[in-house]
Symmetry: C2
């Protein structure tokens, strides 16, 4: 990746003097247009060799543009505190929203490259992490983020010369840290690993842009010009071009039999049984939530179901058993303006619990493949790719110690109608039923298809769907509680 | 992946009788339109559980459509002979061309799934193979292939019942092989592995379509209808929608210094030295080509360079040293009509040598990122994704024992002009120079940019580019011969 960045690119002072003011003006103009149109976010990754001028370039970019609309984030090694969340959590927190520029200095490449270069992680693990990154960046690109990946490079010879030059002058000797001296000794290894990382992640949607770093004028002008041209080019595209339509036709199943229709809705529990078992199960859940081993896990419980399936009331039966400091309940409605300015998983990442805690989602990221699909709030290509993105997301959480338990509360159309009527007729339940609920009900067959596809495509070994026949509320709540306790118990056992 | 295909889908005889003739007629009509328009190829993968009716369904599809334009290929386990080529070689050979349908029964999923399910391969290796498949299928889709992936499913209970039913009748007992009895015992393991394979490869461009296999009418009608709808849907799209434009702006390098311009063109060899060393090196190359260890390797040598850089004459200096049974020289020009009806790598896959043999390419797949880029024969999105596809291709070859040695013969514009003039003025060299050569010469700066990008993005550790300053032909040929001998020697040593 670095051949063209080891040949001594440079710009003379005269050219610099002539071009710098033009470039600054153009960058500012671009930045305000970006902000005004607010159609996409710009994420700039800054990586490269020590002493190749990464920090100085970031400073120059901040100086040239309006820093109020640029957010520069520098990440160091992962702290103990940060380890209580999945690896990508901290990066999701700082993604810029549409119209803004985020500069990530030390980012999702830093740890995989150094861990492998220093021999702390095997090549297989490294390749797997690169694959994750590739999927993550493909997702960002598909969600409209403009991702610019800058690598500032120095040849080994140039790096040595630069270090010597800095060390030789008392004025600049402080710029060279012991860490940098150490790194230079491992230059070859670091470059070998970086080269593979860059090649494997140079996808068409977000290729690496390598900039030779030895001459300051060259690197500043090149980085600025690349940023300017890339953003302008994207701004000049009137709209994101449509992705090719995927292939799944809507004609199945031919016999109209669905996964939901095939459930057994006849099971029920008497009030007496229910009350006895409810208390026992709640006690069991409470005990599990206090298990010291749970400090090494966190818990995400997802509730999905048709309107009036009993999500809220079931969640209340769980929280009755839990300490308020242990859990959060997140009700999910249509995304607000802030949320729409981000990739769709963003608003859920915010609520991923740290180790030792739980989040109960009343509806979730599955809205993408349910309501957004059926109501055509997103394109077919968007929801088709979402299955893979969601599986990847959940695998990432699971690898970081998150236990994911997903419930589909299934009711029959007849039972829904009964509950809708009851809600309409009961004054204190009246607020729960809206015209939209009735409209959704008309689309039952489309939802049924979407739910079947969702379960088929996202019921994974690490995060299976539990489909609970819920026409009988008592039976349903007991089943949910018991399943949840079983899953937690298994997870604790697996941890030893 | 299989939840919705374990609920007992079925179609009654009356519905079958009514729908079958309509579907047949529609499939035939679709097939002729596909052939007439010849805009894309259709590849159908047939996978699934034993006894789920895969073979019967393929037979029915062949019966319903015109079998002259369908090519059904059934692949068994990899034979010893096939092992002398990279794994994907045999599949590339049978890809249908535009307008045609290929049914692959036993395909690139079969071996990864069974090797992992039987415990012959680790999970890590399995995940890596799935990732390769995903990249391969993404490439096919980007090249316009319509890929339909059918999985015929039976629940464990249904599979057992089906086996018993067949075994109980003397008329059908022969249908159950000992292999199938064995497989049924490992049903759970096979399904667990398949489930992961299907989920990880259900990309938006080519999702898996799972069909419950227990009822013949249901499975035939469903497979036929899915095929019909998918192809028709694609035929109705007037053109493949454009992919989003990639990001690399064309403004660099700002100082106009290029990798090629930075080479040292002053080195040369006297005629005497040249003749002595040439013979020594040719002897060395011949010895290496006869080394018994070379039976475990094959050799791909790529020559690229500007017009008149000396590719042909250099290749002749190599072949002078080689046994004609050992090597083939493949001169690469613009693709012909057959080749244009296939993904762009297809015409090169055909010439990948088997172990113990060599192919010398006079120009190669790099045309995609050179002439096709500069002359705009393909879209920017196409050549941008080609870097990754080419790296993946070469890694695949390398993993299968192919040693890849790539030479860029670099000449200065001045030297090219001298050679062009010489060619024009020398009667027996006159045929070598055309108007096109002069036109290409006018685009030197664009080529220079494309060559720099190519080397940066595809000079990998397993297949680095060797840039040979070739203004002096003698020096260049010696350098090529020596580099090639060194690379072969290293590869032989690495094999022990």
């Amino acid at each position: 990746m670095f051949e063209s960045a080891e040949i001594g690119h440079r710009i003379d002072k005269k050219t610099w003097k002539a071009r710098e003011p033009e470039l600054r003006a153009a960058l500012l103009e671009m930045q305000f247009r970006l902000l005004r149109e607010a159609r996409f976010a710009v994420v700039i990754l800054v990586n490269g060799v020590d002493l190749a001028g990464r920090g100085e370039t970031v400073n120059v970019l901040n100086e040239w543009m309006d820093p109020r609309h640029i957010r520069t984030e520098a990440f160091g090694p992962i702290s103990e505190h940060e380890r209580r969340h999945p690896e990508m959590f901290r990066f999701w927190q700082v993604l810029p929203s549409k119209g803004h520029v985020g500069i990530l200095f030390g980012n999702w490449y830093t740890d995989p490259v150094s861990a492998h270069a220093l021999g702390h992680e095997t090549r297989e693990h490294f390749v797997r992490r690169l694959e994750r990154i590739r999927q993550f960046e493909r997702m960002l690109a598909a969600e409209g983020v403009l991702l610019l990946k800058f690598w500032f490079h120095l040849s080994k010879k140039a790096a040595k010369a630069r270090m010597k030059e800095l060390q030789d002058s008392p004025k600049t000797a402080w710029r060279v840290t012991p860490q940098e001296e150490h790194n230079l000794k491992h230059y070859d290894e670091f470059i070998r690993v970086s080269d593979e990382a860059l090649r494997k992640t140079s996808i068409g949607e977000a290729p690496w842009l390598v900039i030779e770093g030895s001459d300051p004028y060259y690197r500043y002008l090149t980085a600025g010009q690349l940023l300017l041209d890339s953003v302008n080019r994207r701004l000049d595209q009137p709209l994101a071009p449509p992705l090719p339509a995927p292939l799944v036709p809507e004609t199945r199943p031919l016999d109209r039999l669905s996964l939901l229709a095939a459930q057994d809705y006849s099971r029920s529990a008497t009030r007496k049984d229910y009350e006895d078992r409810l208390e026992t199960l709640q006690g069991r859940l409470n005990g599990l939530s206090r298990d010291p081993r749970l400090q090494q896990l966190s818990l995400v419980v997802v509730f999905e179901g048709m309107d009036a399936a009993g999500k809220g009331s079931t969640i209340r039966r769980l929280t009755q058993a839990l300490d308020a400091r242990f859990y959060r309940v997140i009700p999910v409605a249509a995304p607000n303006e802030n949320e729409r300015a981000q990739p769709y998983l963003w608003r859920f990442w915010r609520y991923i619990p740290k180790l030792g805690h739980a989040t109960l989602f009343d509806r979730s990221w599955y809205g993408r493949v349910l309501v957004e699909r059926v109501e055509r709030f997103c394109s077919e290509a968007d929801w088709m790719r979402a299955y893979g993105e969601i599986n990847e997301f959940e695998e990432e959480l699971s690898d970081a110690g998150v236990l994911i338990v997903k419930f589909w509360l299934a009711i029959t159309p007849e039972e829904q109608l009964r509950r809708f009527k009851e809600r309409s007729e009961t004054p204190h339940k009246n607020y729960k039923i809206t015209d939209e609920d009735w409209r959704n009900r008309d689309k039952w067959p489309q939802y049924e298809q979407a739910i079947g596809d969702m379960i088929d495509r996202t019921s994974t070994q690490i995060a299976p769907w539990h489909v609970i026949a819920s026409d009988n509320k008592h039976w349903s709540r007991l089943e949910v509680l018991e399943t949840l306790c079983d899953r937690i118990e298994q997870a604790l056992k697996a941890r030893g």
